[in-house]
Amino acid sequence: MTGSSFPTLLEALGDDEFPGVDLALRRGRHIGREDGPAYEFLVEALDHLEPFYRRFGCELVQRSDGFFFLLPSGDALGQRHLSAGEMLVGQTLALLYLDPATLAQGGRIARRLLLERLSGLIGAESLFRTLNPRRRKFDERVAAETVRTQVSEALRGLSALGFVDLEGDDLLRLRPALLRFADPVRGLSDPVRGLEQLVARGEAVLAEAQKDEDSAAEDEEAAR
């Protein structure tokens, strides 16, 4: 006897919500309470969908913060890693999500605030160099424009993945999935160990490993 309102997997797969939810999950999107019917469907069908996705070499993860995502554990489904820009923007948004000041606006912040917080934490030049490791020359005006463009790109990416909703040109609605960026420091006093555990579970990769993969992919592409 399961707690699911779907008696069988077949009925869960036959639900109208399934195709949209399945495609979104496979594309890396986080489905949260804000998504309404899609989230409710996942809650109801979780017992059937967990083993279903395991057969594809990935795990359907449910977080108590109120969101689901698909974590690939093999090569069957394909996987990706967030870019440096997405990581920095995502972590800063997570910090803003934890800030009680955001509460007054119901979890909404202005894009300007994100840029201010980002440059306040990392520093304008350091931010530019982190996002553009190959560029040596630093011109303040050009750098500011480049960073703004890269932050916008990162926001678009994070929005497609269900970390944040873009509301108009200026407003961002923060979603609980952002707490994934705080995973290394959640629940443990030692962030290094926290990160190691995250890597061991396959939820994150260290950037060195990422670099190796990138160069391997580049070599592979060059060989074609």
């Binding site: 999950l25 890396g28 440096a84 800063t92 934890l98 119901g106 994934r180 290394p184 420091v185």
Partner: protein, 435 residues
């Protein structure tokens, strides 16, 4: 009275260059005047008492300011210029003036002083009064036999009493909006200051506001439905009596009431979202991190990320490949024209008799004194059928150029010939005789 056209109103305001520029001391002065008028039941103020009161206000707002009497004179003039104070004695220079606060000043001060947010009690009182007013209006509409009856018993009370009551509810709604904004800021402030210890107070504040909104919405839903039913009856009676003014006035009140009802539903929905958001925040963030260490650790993680970078892993299923149907390659022939013999043999065509007359006509025209091509052509073409005019013009030109010396300017002028043709004109010298 029909509502004013917004474009005209805005244009008029812009034309008059209306503006309000009040400093803190001005607002405090107006507030002091309002409170004194209220306490002492004063309808107006003598100039001397204005100056005294301003000095008292100045002592509080800007202690140590020099020459307060002079400042009072300037302040009074400034407030008169901005239509906040009005002189009411009409005595001019004869004696010191007597002043009263204008409606504008009263409204400005009311905003700062009055605690006019919507409460269950105030809303119940307002809706109860409104219901009885509408019932009276409906009774008057049923008894009304003439346009005058409608005007005095229906249109008047609708505009004044009902209009004021509905506006009163709306004003209090705006007050409650402002109060809710303060509640949100208060919640953020409490958490910022006390974090985990503020959780109970936050939840209490949330519950209270949610309960207030729920109650208000319930009253609004119930009563506005009743108001609209009464108003529709009044409107139907006005329509039967052919009284367009009352019908339109009733329609405006119905729209106003609808707006009030929509406010209640919208605010409750927004607050419900906010309520859930704050609850989740308290549950997921505050309760799980009572020491508020997470923010600091995350801040450190961001600062040190470039030295120890990591990246989150996500699923990425490639898009489904939709293969196009296989097409057999077709050799397409180059685009060519069909071959045909376009060289036709010249055919012998007998010259028309009419065109045969052209040389004689040309000679005759020149001998009659024509000295340019346009004049010669006009005379020749007059004797030729219209369908041959174009050909005949060519013949004329050729014959004229062959028989007489011609002269043309660098820029030859265009001349109209018999309203059908235009030719570039040049002159001939008939004196030399035909060549």
């Amino acid at each position: 009275m029909p509502p004013a056209d917004p474009n005209r109103v805005i244009a008029a305001l812009a034309r008059d260059r209306v503006s309000i520029d009040l400093k803190t001391v001005d607002l405090c002065f107006l507030a002091a005047l309002t409170l004194r008028a209220d306490r002492q039941a004063l309808a107006s103020f003598e100039e001397e008492s204005l100056v005294d009161l301003f000095e008292q206000v100045c002592d509080v707002v800007e202690p140590g300011a020099e020459n307060p009497r002079k400042r009072a004179t300037h302040a009074i003039q400034r407030l008169r210029d901005q239509r906040m104070l009005a002189r009411v004695d009409g005595a001019g220079l004869v004696h010191a003036g007597e002043y009263t606060l204008t409606r504008l000043a009263a409204a400005v001060i009311e905003y700062f002083l009055a605690d006019e947010s919507l409460t269950r009690e105030s809303l119940s009182l307002l809706t109860g009064t409104l219901r009885s007013q509408l019932a009276e209006i409906l009774a008057a509409a049923k008894k009304a036999d003439s346009a005058d009856d409608f005007r005095s018993g229906v249109a008047g009370p609708l505009r004044v009493t009902v209009g004021d009551l509905v506006a009163g509810i709306e004003r209090r709604q705006r007050g409650l909006d402002a109060q809710q904004e303060e509640v949100r800021e208060e919640l953020a402030r409490m958490l910022q200051a006390d974090w985990f210890r503020a959780v109970d107070r936050c939840q209490q504040l949330l519950e209270t506001t949610a309960r207030t909104l729920g109650e208000l919405n319930e009253i609004l839903m119930r009563d506005t439905h009743h108001f609209v039913a009464l108003l529709l009856e009044v409107q139907a009676l006005a329509a039967d009596a052919g009284n367009d003014d009352v019908e339109a006035a009733t329609q405006r009140v119905i729209e106003h009431v609808d707006r009030i009802a929509a406010w209640g539903a919208a605010r409750q929905r927004v607050w419900s979202d906010y309520y859930q958001y704050v609850h989740r925040f308290i549950q997921d963030v505050v309760r799980l991190d009572p020491g508020r260490a997470l923010s600091q650790m995350l801040r450190d993680q961001i600062v040190g990320w470039k030295d120890r970078p990591f990246r989150l892993v996500l699923a990425r299923a490639p898009s489904i490949r939709l293969l196009r149907p296989l097409l057999v390659g077709v050799e397409r022939p180059p685009v060519t024209r069909p071959r045909s013999d376009r060289e036709s043999l010249p055919a012998e065509v007998a010259a028309g008799e009419t065109l045969g007359e052209v040389p004689d006509l040309v000679r005759a025209a020149v001998s009659e004194g024509a000295t340019d091509l346009a004049t010669v052509a006009s005379r020749v073409l007059a004797a030729i059928p219209p369908e041959l005019h174009y050909i005949a013009t060519g013949h004329t030109t050729e014959i004229l150029a062959r028989l007489w010396p011609t002269h043309g300017d660098l820029e030859r002028p265009w001349r109209t010939v018999l309203d059908r043709l235009e030719i570039e004109n040049w002159t001939v010298s008939p004196k030399g005789g035909p060549a």
